[in-house]
Amino acid sequence: QQQVKQSPQSLIVQKGGIPIINCAYENTAFDYFPWYQQFPGKGPALLIAIRPDVSEKKEGRFTISFNKSAKQFSLHIMDSQPGDSATYFCAASRVNRDDKIIFGKGTRLHILP
């Protein structure tokens, strides 16, 4: 019940395409859903996050879509660029609790020039 299942494991998209990464969770107590971006040799960094009171959040070319009833959320990258090539992790947690954040296993995204 504590797992966050992420797919696909890897993804190759042409420049300008819209990669979509999906995550599913089981614990309905989760109320914070961030996405982290990690470049090779670096630590992950927060990209965008959503709370369950909204169904969509956009920041620049990055959009989170959230489906509370299906317990799923996804990351869309509009007009993808080679510089977006990285590993993306979805995650889930409960706000203001002494809980650890649960990360998905990651998606390695490669944007072809």
Partner: protein, 114 residues
């Protein structure tokens, strides 16, 4: 401002030796996390500190692994009698309070056990 720093950045050690990895979190961040990332793999949770106490140690792989945090700031992850399977990047992250807030990750310590 200063981010999360980790030292050393790289550590090569012989099998059976003990190693200490250090994490300096962002000043004022009360929560601190340790993760392990094997090559091309995901983030394996090791331990979480809130202040100096560790509410969740469930990810420590064996009793060879231990961690402490002093003064609500610096944390040290110690691996005793290192094994080749301990080779990985060890990442530290801190956040302002508890879960549900942005975690700021350090650059990691790449540990190689020969």
């Amino acid at each position: 401002g200063a981010g999360v720093s980790q030292s050393p950045s790289n550590k090569v050690t012989e099998k059976g030796k003990d190693v200490e990895l250090r994490c300096d979190p962002i000043s004022g961040h009360t929560a601190l996390y340790w993760y392990r990332q094997s090559l091309g793999q995901g983030l394996e949770f090791l331990i979480y500190f809130q202040g100096n106490s560790a509410p969740d140690k469930s990810g420590l792989p064996s009793d060879r692994f231990s961690a402490e945090r002093t003064g609500g700031s610096v944390s040290t992850l110690t691996i005793q009698r290192t094994q080749q399977e301990d080779s990985a990047v060890y990442l530290c992250a801190s956040s302002l309070v508890q879960s549900g807030y942005e975690q700021y990750f350090g650059p990691g310590t790449r540990l190689t056990v020969t």
